[in-house]
Chain length 218, copies 2
């Protein structure tokens, strides 16, 4: 079956969560689960779960529920986890090194194949078995090697310069931690991670009662 | 005006984005903007913007639009950025050090006042001017000092142990990078950051056409 419509961003963002919860169920030897039970655990409605999954085919059976192992595997496939990905990372400071050295990624098929930085003290260092190269070599590297995803862990004001080299490559996606919006020529998908936004959300929540009390029409 | 209803999570998550866009406008010396123009820049509808902001009072004027500086300041206040926060961080590995050493946080009033780790090679190290303490000292530290937010950058299987010490403290929020769901006794707000979910979303997007083509009713 060819499905023409694209799936909404909200659904896509919930997929890793399903995957995580199903993985936990498997770890706890739970072989099947009703959409009702799954909904209670995940804190979303059963009908939302059914709707979300219906985007990708028909899962589960009336009166039986979901086979956990099958659904886990299927969602993994939907997420593209049955493949492996070659990742390059640009910006091998503390944060970049933490990502490149995180063993879970390799377990899921995300392999860091090259790391770049502009700091002479970092260039030549080995992180997770991969040596950090001079970022000046990035354009040539991209011409001569295959990579699927570029992880951008450089400061925002440098991101624009790097983007040019990535546009002229076969990179399909950018995992962007730079805090800067990237304006790229079509085709490359950008996933922005904005840690500061998340921290600000937390400080709002901490103060919510107080903030709403102070809120006044101006 | 006392507003009783809580604001939806989706609205709250958009606030830092408004703040960021308005800050960029200010940097570019743009003094006022219509909700239409702002909506084009941000890629959300003008009516959504008006609805979001209406949660907190009445901003902008028919025919004039928004005063950028005023709205920026007001949203900053809503986000609680007119205060400062004492942050402690547990897990001062590469990732924790990257967060604790990031100067932007202090500029926004998020001050790391204490760092903890269990690794003898990390304990005693100074990051962003703060010395890393032994995590065994955490409960005593929390009894004797004030902290608003705990940043959890420990592996998931350790998060549960730390949570106990935090529950018995005056901590108001946890910025949780551990990948583990925290089940805390009431009151403490947890903001989870799941980097792996974000990477999985990116790999889905890269493969979307292909995935939808393969999707079959089972």
């Amino acid at each position: 079956m060819k499905i023409d419509k694209k799936v909404s961003a909200a659904v896509i963002q919930r997929l890793p969560r399903y995957y995580r919860y199903l993985g936990d169920l498997l770890d706890n030897d739970i072989a099947r689960i009703s959409s009702k039970e799954l909904s209670v655990r995940m804190g979303i409605t059963a009908s939302q779960i059914r709707q979300d999954l219906n985007n990708f085919g028909s899962f589960g059976q009336q009166g039986y529920g979901y086979n956990v192992a099958t659904l886990y595997e299927e969602i993994g496939r939907i997420l593209g986890l049955d493949r492996s990905y070659a990742l390059i990372l640009i910006g091998a400071g503390n944060f970049g090194q933490a990502l490149a050295g995180y063993p879970y990624f390799a377990k899921r098929g995300y392999n860091f194949v090259a790391l770049f930085d502009n700091d002479p003290e970092i260039i030549g260092k080995t992180v997770g078995g991969v040596m950090v190269m001079d970022v000046a070599q990035l354009p040539v590297y991209l011409q001569e090697n295959h990579a699927d995803i570029a992880v951008l862990t450089v400061p925002g004001h440098i991101a624009g310069q790097i983007a040019g080299a990535l546009e002229n490559s076969n990179i399909k996606g950018i995992w962007n931690f730079s805090g800067s919006d990237l304006h790229l020529r079509g085709g490359i998908i950008v996933e922005n991670v904005r840690l500061t936004d998340s921290l600000m959300t937390l400080s709002y929540m901490i103060n919510e009662d107080d903030i709403l009390q102070r809120a006044m029409p101006m």
